[in-house]
Amino acid sequence: MTSKIEKEDLSRRNFVFGSIAAAGLTVAPGVMLYQTANARDLSKPVSSKVRWGMLIDTTKDVDWNKCVEACVKEHGLGNEEHSRADQRTQYIRVVDVKNKTTGYSMSLPVMCQHCEKPPCVDVCPTGASMKREDGIVLVDRHRCIGCRYCMMACPYKARSFVHETLTDQKTTTPRGKGCVESCNMCVNRVDNGQLPACVEVSEGAIVFGDLNDPESDISRLLAKHGGKQIRADLKLNPGVQYQGI
C-alpha cells in the first residue's frame, strides 16, 4: 500500500487542498483509508493548514489488541528488562468500560488524544512537550528533563516515563532513560505518507486524516455521524475522537 501511495506522487499543494482525497476515492475501493497519506516535503516546516486526527469506531468488532501490538512493534516498545509492569511504557492501551447500572460494556483503544489545547504542553517547563503545527503532540527527547509534570497534567494518562536504560531502540522512535514519551501519531510514518501503525491494522475501525479538510474521510464521517471526545468537558478539543462511546 505504501508503494501505491508513493506512486501517486501528488504535490503537497494538491494534498493540502484535498484534491487527492477526491481522486483517491474514485481510483479504487478501499483506498479511502489512505487518501491523505502522502509524504510531506521534509525540507519545509509542517503546515498548520493540516490537522491530523483519528476517528475510532468502537462499535466495530475489532480486536483492539492488534493495534497495541502494531504500536509496540512500530516503536520498539516492550524492551524493558527491569521495570515493573506499572513502570513499562504503553503508548496505546485497551480500556474496558462497563456501565454498572445497565451492564452495558465496551472496549476502546486510548492513546494520546492529541489535544488542540494540550495541558502537557502548557505545563512543560522547557518546551520539550510540544504540539506540531499539524496538531501532532509529542515530546522532544533532546529537551525533556524528565520532570514528569506533563504526566501529572494529562487527563488521559497517555504518557509513560522511561524507567531504565534501553538498548536497540528504533531509529525512528528515539527513546531513552529519564525521559517522558507517548503516542506521537507515528509522526515518522505520517511524514513519509504512511498511516499510523494502529490505523493500518485496525480493519477500518480507525480512520486517520485531516480534520481541517472538509473533503477528507474523517471529516465526512464526523459530519455525518458525529464524534465524541473523552472528557469533552475539559474543552481540550482532542484530535482523537470516538464513535460509540
Binding site: E80, H82, S83, R84, D86, Q87, R88, T89, Q90, R93, V94, V95, D96, V97, K98, N99, K100, V110, P119, V121, D122, V123, C124, P125, T126, G127, R143, C144, I145, G146, C147, R148, Y149, M151, M152, A153, C154, P155, Y156, K157, R159, S160, F161, V162, H163, E164, T165, K177, G178, C179, V180, I230, R231, L234, I245
Partner: protein, 400 residues
C-alpha cells in the same frame, strides 16, 4: 532591655564538627541515593507511570513550602514592625534560603535527566508554572540575600524595611506558585482547585515556623546560649494559630469537595476509603500533626520547652503526611475518564495505584533536610546570624 549582640557560633569545637559531620553524612547519603536512582533509572524506586511523583517530591515540596514560611519571622519584624522578632530576623532569612536550597537539590536530583539542568535554565516555556517557579526560586534567593545584607551591614539598615517588604510579597507569590503546581491541574480530582494556593501559603506559615523553632531551640541548647521564655512563648502561640489555620483550610477543602459530586470521590477516598491515605490523614496529619500539637502548645504543658519542641516535631511529621496525601494520594486515586463507569485496562485505569516508598527515595528526601541543616550549621559559624543571648532581659521590651 539590654543591647542586642550578634555573635558567630564558635567553629573550632568538637560539637560543631560533630554536627557538620552528621549533616554532611546525611547529605552525602542523599546524593549517593540520587546517583543510584539515576544510574539504574527510576525502576529502582516505588514510582511508576501512575504515581510519577513520589517521596522525594514530598520532601522537596515540604522544604520549599517551609522555606517561604521560615521567612515569616523576619517579615513580622521588618514589615509589621514587631520589635520582639527583630533578634530572630537574621536566622529566619538564612534558614529560608537553606530550606529552599535543600528542597531544590531534592527536586533537581529526582529529575529523569538532572544532567540537563542547563536546558531547564536556558529553554523556557513561560506558560508553565514550573518555569515561573524557576524564576520565583532564584529570585527568592537573591532578594532574601539582599534582605539579609541590609540587616547585617549597618550602613544599609535603613533599607531593611523595604527589602523585607519585597521579600514578603515575593514569598507570598512563591508559595502561590508552589500551590498552583497542583491547583492548576485540571486532570486530577484531588487538585484542580485554586484553594490549594492559599492553603499552601498557610501551610508554609505552619511548617516553616515549626522548623524555625526546632532550629532555634537546638542552636541555643547546643551552644549554651540563653533562650528566654519570652521569645519561645510568642513563637509557640503563633505556631498554634498557624496549625489551627491549616486545619481550617483542610476542612474547607474537603467540604468543598464533598459538596460537589464530581470531586466527592477523592475526599471520600482520603477520609474513609483510602487505606494508608486515610490512616495518614486521621492518625498522622490530624491526630499527631494537628490536635496533639495544639494540646501541647496551649494545654497545661504549654510552657514546657521539651513539649514545645515535641509539638514542633509533630507538626513537621504531620506536614509530611499531609503532603504525602496531597501528592501521592492525589495520584493514586484513579483518574476519572468515563464518569460513572467501571473502567479497567493494562495501564491501571480505574484502580487505586499502588505505591510504596523505596529506600533511595527516602534517603534522597532526608538528604535534602541534611543539606538544609548543613548549610545552617556552616552559616551560623561563618556569620553573625544568632544573638549571643535571647534571654528575656535582652529581648523582652517590658523586662525589668
Amino acid at each position: 532591655m539590654k543591647k542586642l549582640h550578634f555573635l558567630e557560633v564558635e567553629g573550632n569545637t568538637k560539637g560543631f564538627y560533630t554536627f557538620l559531620g552528621i549533616f554532611g553524612l546525611i547529605s552525602l547519603i542523599g546524593v549517593l541515593a540520587a546517583y543510584y536512582m539515576e544510574h539504574h533509572g527510576h525502576y529502582v524506586t516505588g514510582m511508576s507511570n501512575q504515581v510519577v511523583w513520589g517521596t522525594p517530591h514530598v520532601f522537596a515540596i515540604f522544604l520549599i513550602v517551609a522555606a517561604s514560611g521560615a521567612l515569616n519571622v523576619a517579615s513580622i519584624s521588618s514589615v509589621f514592625a514587631k520589635t520582639a522578632y527583630k533578634p530572630l530576623a537574621r536566622l529566619s532569612g538564612m534558614l529560608a534560603m537553606a530550606l529552599l536550597a535543600g528542597g531544590l537539590v531534592v527536586l533537581l536530583l529526582d529529575l529523569g535527566r538532572p544532567d540537563r539542568l542547563i536546558v531547564a535554565m536556558t529553554r523556557f516555556n513561560f506558560v508553565s508554572i514550573f518555569t515561573w517557579n524557576i524564576f520565583l526560586y532564584t529570585g527568592f534567593m537573591g532578594i532574601v540575600a539582599i534582605y539579609l545584607w541590609t540587616m547585617m551591614d549597618r550602613p544599609y539598615n535603613n533599607l531593611t524595611k523595604k527589602a523585607g517588604m519585597v521579600a514578603f510579597i515575593w514569598r507570598l507569590i512563591l508559595t502561590t506558585g508552589t500551590g498552583s503546581i497542583f491547583g492548576f491541574l485540571i486532570s486530577r480530582e484531588a487538585y484542580d482547585t485554586a484553594l490549594l494556593a492559599p492553603m499552601f501559603i498557610i501551610m508554609s506559615f505552619s511548617f516553616g515556623l515549626a522548623f524555625f523553632m526546632l532550629v532555634l531551640m537546638a542552636s541555643y541548647k547546643y551552644t549554651d546560649r540563653p533562650l528566654g521564655d519570652y521569645v519561645i512563648n510568642r513563637l509557640k502561640n503563633l505556631l498554634g494559630v498557624f496549625v489551627a489555620a491549616v486545619l481550617y483550610f483542610v476542612i474547607v477543602y474537603h467540604i468543598t469537595n464533598l459538596y460537589s459530586a464530581d470531586h466527592r470521590g477523592v475526599s471520600i477516598f482520603v477520609l474513609s476509603a483510602g487505606g494508608i491515605y486515610t490512616f495518614l490523614f486521621w492518625v498522622v496529619q490530624i491526630g499527631l500533626g494537628t490536635v496533639l500539637p495544639l494540646f501541647l502548645l496551649y494545654g497545661p504543658t504549654g510552657k514546657n520547652r521539651t513539649m514545645i519542641g515535641l509539638a514542633s516535631l509533630l507538626i513537621i511529621i504531620g506536614a509530611l503526611a499531609q503532603l504525602y496525601i496531597i501528592i501521592i494520594g492525589g495520584q493514586a486515586y484513579p483518574m476519572v475518564m468515563f464518569p460513572g463507569m467501571e473502567v479497567s485496562s493494562s495501564f491501571y485505569d480505574g484502580v487505586v495505584a499502588s505505591y510504596a516508598p523505596s529506600l533511595p527515595e527516602v534517603l534522597l528526601g532526608l538528604g535534602g533536610v541534611g543539606v538544609t541543616l548543613l548549610l545552617v550549621t556552616i552559616a551560623v559559624a561563618a556569620l553573625k546570624f544568632l544573638p549571643a543571648s535571647l534571654a528575656d532581659e535582652v529581648v523582652d521590651p517590658h523586662a525589668k
